[in-house]
């Protein structure tokens, strides 16, 4: 298992998850990251992990069972995907009311390119699992009015709302509703009545669900608020964004996330043996499913198929970005469509829908098989289609052998079905079908394994704790992590980094300003020391300030701190006589300065200077920092453009600085606990209903 390598965005997610769980194990919810670009809030980064999802904590269980963190993570991702596959099986069973075909759909999906994203694109798996279960609970709720389905829906919705971006789900649900209204218009009124009655029968449960959902909105609102805050900098995708809301993206930036760049329709059949996990878009389902398209053209349409087809097709059309007009229309008319850019995710999320449609068509084809006397024309039709598909494959480049074998196997299957050999024996039917479905995916997955990048350096598994150092490393001394580059590597290690990043990153705008506008060597010399002690202060209005003068001050280590604000009472009485020309930086613990405690969200230190000082802590300033000196609240100033500064009285001071209000910290743990309770309640209710069923 150690040989399995993570590719794509997965390595960055691995380190984020590890960072988060290492912190949780120490009883700390990470709100601030002091190691990332000289300190940055963790509010947006955490959104992609699904930190309220109880399944995430199974990593800790696997770790307790003796696995290394890396192995535990791999087992977690694979088993979480399995949870989604089980959900898909149950959903298929509900939709088609046939266990055999639900199993077929499950196998087809299991051996599709969605599975490959387990080790390349975490968020796709997170979205898939929660969306699939959401629709399963929804369907069950319509059929059976039971409390557990309400709880299930709430559980899924909280995960959807608090993991990555809920907009993909919102768009899918919007289209689902649209097509549902279109195809099931007559059922709408009775269905609404039933649901309302259901709600009236369980007022307390519904209130609980609404409250739980309300709680889950807080993390989203905080993320949204951060993105709207001018102090916060989004990455380059938001460069041309609306000035009032940095979450909004320009349509050109979104179009880059469409599928038409990397994907060609020939890729569905040709060169599939050459794909690798690091390919941005790799869409693969067994060729048997494509074969079903011409085979089922004469099936009678029904509302269910219409809904599934339309939903899958519209998601495909949106994923084409600017190559088709659908996305532009949505971008112009629906606000939230401007907030997400990886449109190719929608194509991946359309795969289960289209598989369900295809397998349902297959079921209809077999169930509408003509009686003995009229089979001649059918057989000719079936054989012709197979031959045509074979001919088509022959005209394409680089077709793998198993593609041909699947077509031949399929022809044998339909022939045997025609002779009623398979109809009699359910096991033989399933076995034969599984062989046909699996021949090609097994070869493709074999190539995927072959084409995977060898794991040059093992992923870090050892636990980490935040460790304070007085000096940051220089740029070239930063540790590199296997599989990730760029700012992602800046984010998730509990050890000091230089903080210099060559490109735009997600973080605080002020530190970014310094990186872009100041001489790198001067800045590096200043920033490597975390504590600077000043004897003189200058009050600055930001509009009148030029970063060049700060650069000049840094270069000569001028003993003046530049403090930004309107007024400062303490400033008036701040006159140190005979002050040195240069500032003083702290290089380690001493009788004058000692760090007493350090964590992701706080720092505690003791000072004992003989005169009044202004201390600059070279960790980014943010309005949500607060603090005490000798148990008395103190004001934290923005100093030297991007950092925190405080006044220190002469004599002994015990200073405690912290990010985020305590209630916020507790709230996160509350939401995690709530999700555990919800999951526990769901499991108990399902087990109880199963017992009743068995006893009944």
């Amino acid at each position: 298992m150690e040989k399995i390598s993570l590719e794509g965005t997965a390595p960055a997610y691995y380190y984020r998850i590890k960072y988060f769980l290492d912190s949780i194990m120490q009883g700390v919810y990470p709100l601030w990251n002091p190691f990332s670009v000289w300190g940055s809030p963790d509010v947006v980064d955490m959104r992609a992990l699904g930190e309220y999802n109880p399944f995430l904590y199974s990593i800790l269980l696997f770790k307790v069972a003796g696995l290394s963190f890396y192995k535990a993570y791999l087992v977690y991702m694979a088993s979480y995907y399995l949870v989604g596959l089980i959900g898909f099986y149950l959903l298929s069973k509900e939709v088609m009311a046939d266990k055999r075909f639900a199993y077929v759909a499950y196998v087809v999906l299991m051996f599709s390119s969605l599975s490959q994203t387990v080790f390349t694109e975490n968020v796709l798996i997170y979205m898939f699992v929660s969306i699939v279960w959401f629709f399963y609970f929804l369907l069950r709720l319509v059929k059976a009015e039971e409390s557990r389905y309400w709880l299930g829906l709430t559980f899924c919705l909280i995960i959807i709302f608090t993991t990555y971006l809920p907009f993909y789900f919102l768009l899918i649900f919007l289209f689902f509703l649209l097509f549902f209204i279109l195809f099931y218009f007559r059922e709408l009124v009775p269905l609404t009545h039933r649901l309302l009655k259901n709600i009236r029968n369980r007022p307390r449960l519904i209130v609980f669900c609404i409250l739980a959902l309300g709680c889950s909105l807080l993390p989203i609102l905080r993320g949204y608020q951060a993105a709207r805050d001018p102090a916060y900098l989004m990455d380059f995708h938001h460069r041309k964004a609306d000035e009032k809301n940095f979450l909004v993206m320009d349509i050109d930036a979104i179009n880059l996330g469409g599928v038409t760049g990397p994907l060609d329709w020939q890729d569905l059949f040709s060169e599939i043996g050459a794909f690798a996990g690091r390919d941005t878009v790799f869409v693969f389902v067994t060729i048997f499913l494509y074969l079903l398209v011409p085979l089922t053209v004469l099936n009678r349409i029904n509302r269910r198929s219409s809904l599934l087809f339309c939903l899958g097709f519209i998601l495909f059309m949106v994923s084409l970005a600017d190559a088709a007009p659908v996305h532009r229309f949505l971008y112009e008319h629906i606000y939230f469509v401007r907030l997400f850019r990886n449109l190719f995710f929608l194509l991946y999320l359309a795969i289960p829908v289209l598989i369900l449609f295809g397998v349902d068509q297959f079921r209809l084809l077999l169930s509408s098989w003509p009686p003995m006397g009229k089979r001649g024309a059918w057989l000719i039709f079936i054989i012709s289609i197979h031959l045509l598909v074979l001919l088509f494959l022959m005209t394409q480049e680089d077709i793998i052998r198993s593609s041909y074998l699947t077509i031949i196997g399929s022809l044998m299957f339909f022939t045997l079905w025609g002779t009623q050999v398979l109809n009699q024996n359910r096991l033989l039917f399933l076995l034969f079908l599984l062989v046909i479905i699996l021949i090609q995916p097994i070869e493709v997955f074999h190539y995927l394994t072959q084409n995977a990048q060898p794991l040059a350096k093992p992923f870090r598994s050892e636990s980490q704790k935040p460790h304070f150092t007085f000096q940051r490393p220089l740029k070239g001394e930063d540790l590199t992590l296997p599989g990730i580059s760029g700012y992602a590597s800046e984010l998730k290690l509990m050890q000091d980094r230089s903080g210099f990043v060559d490109h735009e990153y997600i973080g605080l705008r002020k530190s970014h300003d310094l990186q872009r506008n100041m001489d790198y060597t001067i800045l590096q010399e200043y920033i490597r020391h975390k504590f600077i002690v000043y004897d003189k202060v200058e009050m600055i209005q930001e509009s009148n300030f030029d970063l060049k003068s700060l650069e000049q001050a840094f270069s000569i280590q001028k003993n003046v701190a530049y403090v930004f604000g309107d007024s400062m009472e303490e400033y008036k009485n701040f006159h140190n006589d005979n002050i040195p020309e240069q500032y003083f930086f702290v290089t380690g613990n001493s009788p004058e300065f000692e760090v007493l405690g350090f964590g992701l969200n706080f720092i505690k230190f003791k000072t004992n200077f003989n005169s009044r000082k202004f201390l600059v802590y070279n960790d980014s300033f943010h309005k949500e920092w607060w603090g005490y000196a000798n148990q008395i609240p103190i004001k934290i100033w923005r100093a030297n453009w991007a950092f925190k500064g405080i006044w220190l009285d002469p004599g002994e001071n015990i200073v405690y600085l912290r990010y985020g209000k305590p209630w916020l910290h507790r709230f996160h743990f509350f939401l995690i606990s709530l999700m555990f309770v919800l999951l526990g309640a769901l499991v108990i209710l399902f087990l109880r209903s199963r017992t009743i069923l068995i006893e009944g």
């Binding site: 038409t260 760049g261 060169e271 941005t280 053209v297 004469l298 349409i301 190559a323």
Partner: protein, 275 residues
């Protein structure tokens, strides 16, 4: 009539109607040109990979060669091509794209496809030295020495200046004079090694064909033209030295793993040098 009506109803209520509508929507709403431009944008970083590989800046990566191949294939789709009497006509950019695909094919182990594409490129630029050289290299590698010689021999007698101008750049005449001069200078410099390689390949092809007279003749010409490198290769084959040249790495690569030469796509390279 009733049968026809029933058939129509059946047809309209069957799954085929989904596919027809979907096909109709895709056909009429999809911007095919945009798809291709998107693809070019997506693959643009890979487009320069073959050159980077040949210049020794990158190590072999099959996937990158595939992406580069796809980039130039898409480029071809966007360039107008005319075929008349089995001959391909088009702008030089087209021949360069063919040449780049051929180069990718060669490194992806598809020699036959590479030959076909290079021959297409030659139809557009018949006198292009590098195209002929690359064909010579591939045929040599395939053991078809006579054909290899036929592609190489015409250019052996050319001087370096003429070789530089053998590429019929359709935009060359429109270039600024300073660019043209720079182009000539750069190209002439680059041709030296290629000419040495052409002579070596031709001599080795003659050796395989047991044409010792031709072999000696070519080696002598190479010495007379001042192409003789320090490895003593031409002196040995011209019977002027008994010391057989060591099959050093460069020669080994040339014989057993010959490299193709990339064909410049536009004037950017020369523009950069004159800035």
């Amino acid at each position: 009539m009733i049968f026809l009506f029933n058939t129509m109803i059946k047809f309209c209520s069957s799954t085929i109607i989904y596919y027809l509508i979907a096909g109709f929507i895709i056909f009429f709403s999809m911007d095919v040109k945009k798809v291709k431009v998107n693809r070019l944008n997506y693959l643009k970083d890979s487009a320069s990979f073959p050159v980077s590989y040949l210049e020794g800046r990158s190590s072999f990566d099959e996937r990158q060669f595939r992406y580069a191949r796809r980039y130039y294939q898409t480029l071809i789709d966007l360039v107008p091509v005319y075929e008349k009497s089995g001959m391909v006509h088009g702008p030089t950019a087209l021949s360069r794209a063919y040449a780049m695909i051929a180069l990718c094919d060669y490194y992806l182990g598809k020699n036959e496809e590479a030959i076909t594409l290079l021959q297409k490129a030659i139809q557009i630029e018949p006198k292009h030295f590098w195209l002929n050289y690359n064909l010579g290299v591939i045929y040599f590698k395939l053991g078809n020495y006579e054909t290899a010689l036929s592609y190489l021999k015409e250019y052996l007698s050319l001087n370096k200046e003429k070789l530089a101008l053998s590429m019929q750049l359709d935009y060359y005449d429109r270039w600024e004079p300073r660019l043209r001069e720079e182009y000539k200078k750069v190209s002439v410099g680059e041709f030296y090694q290629l000419m040495v390689n052409s002579y070596k390949l031709s001599i080795l092809a003659h050796e395989q064909l047991k044409n010792s007279i031709e072999m000696k003749k070519l080696a002598s010409v190479a010495i007379r033209l001042g192409l003789a490198p320090k490895d003593g290769f031409f002196y040995y084959y011209a019977d002027l030295s008994t010391v057989k040249p060591e099959v050093g790495k460069a020669l080994f690569d040339l014989v057993f793993n010959p490299s193709l030469h990339f064909v410049p796509i536009g004037q950017e390279k020369y523009l950069a040098k004159t800035r």
